[in-house]
Symmetry: C2
Subunit: 274 residues, 2 copies
Amino acid sequence: MVDPARINWPVPEPELPEGVHLALVEAAQAAATAYRAARHSHGRADLGATVADGADGTPTMRVDALVEDAIAESAHRNGVNLLSEEAGFLDHGSAVTLVVDPLDGSSNAASGVPLSCFSGVVTTDGVASEALTVWLDTGRAWWAEAGRPTPYRTSGRTTLDGASVNLHRPKAGSMDGWHRLMGRIGRLRVLGTTCLEAALVAEGSIDAFADPGSDAHRLVDLAAALVMLPSAGGVVLDVHGRPLTFDPDLTRRWSGVVAATPQLGEDLVAAILG
Amino acid sequence: MVDPARINWPVPEPELPEGVHLALVEAAQAAATAYRAARHSHGRADLGATVADGADGTPTMRVDALVEDAIAESAHRNGVNLLSEEAGFLDHGSAVTLVVDPLDGSSNAASGVPLSCFSGVVTTDGVASEALTVWLDTGRAWWAEAGRPTPYRTSGRTTLDGASVNLHRPKAGSMDGWHRLMGRIGRLRVLGTTCLEAALVAEGSIDAFADPGSDAHRLVDLAAALVMLPSAGGVVLDVHGRPLTFDPDLTRRWSGVVAATPQLGEDLVAAILG
């Protein structure tokens, strides 16, 4: 019997390319397994219930905690450190740290909107070497190595007017930016998952993604994009020009702009600031 | 070698339940097969190129035409009539007419945003008996029979403030409605595919979907929802109270509201009208 309170769709195994760092492979697999189990055991309301306050200063949903716990166990087993949204920095004495968003699009993941991701970056002594984003609802994965071209490419678009741009949902702080962009964007979407939206920019399916000024993003939300976009021809910027760095302080925030080209990124920033 | 101009993700076979009308099964399968072939043969720009003007008065993209042609052939083979977005009414002398949106979310389908659907309804002498929506990027399907409860249910939410509401993208005619809703919605998303968004309302993953006043919807966009939502506990309304009927005139338009409950639907209509 189907239980309509549950999310009754499967969570497939991630489809990972050859060559991904073992600790990153196992973290992604742990995320998928834990998310599958969470949907099996809990209804939507349970998945979305607040169970703690995260290291990033925002409430932790049950589904976030279940997935992050599995990733933390995986990182411990692999002997690598973990910097993660809710748990903060877990030091296992390694030069390697996985910088992870266990479940990007938590609200989607808890409610059943099939748009949520695992996203992780391998860093060694603070330098990022590769990034992996897995769309958990389908198993699709995007992988990139720092400084090496990806098989997928951005759209290459340079002009904002008429572009296909995804936006972070409207919040206090971004309403002015929203209004300035709404008249210029050709095709606006709001998917509620920065990591997947950044992957769509990287592969050329949309031209850009932006938080129009609400400082919604932590490092973990943008970490994979910081590796993936330059490798695919694109760029990641902050609306206020703050440098995006692999800093373990998860209380830092950015209004991230992910764009197909540096010129489109700069145009978006200028349009948001007005 | 991967061609970055192509959409390089698979289009799986639709996962259809037992009992679906054979003509509807074959139309859905034809849509998936044609969309897969189109992505294999054409890059994004080619898929989105305008090739004709549709019966609904809007431009037809190449990807729309390729998918609709396959469905029309399938309907002819099955001896049923077809009412479809671009081709209009194709009379094969049957009492049964399939009312079909061949490729809902055409812009997504052409650009590679993995959110597009086949959606169809079986009508006999103008009375709808069943509806099927297939998310082509995953093969997930939602089926409903008129007047029979579905295994999935809406969220049951009755209040607008704080609700999870998807909106049709902002257009001339919907900006006032957009602004009135933005302050009241708890979680706003814009996916660009009415049929999938209606299915997410039906299964309880979001509370509602609305076009806030731009008359964006034709019958084919809302036909499946008209069967599916009542069966799942929800409702389909027009912002201006015009009755939604299975009328073959595809130049008719509605500002559709799809909601988990009649009360939430009425509240959304009132909020959009202001």
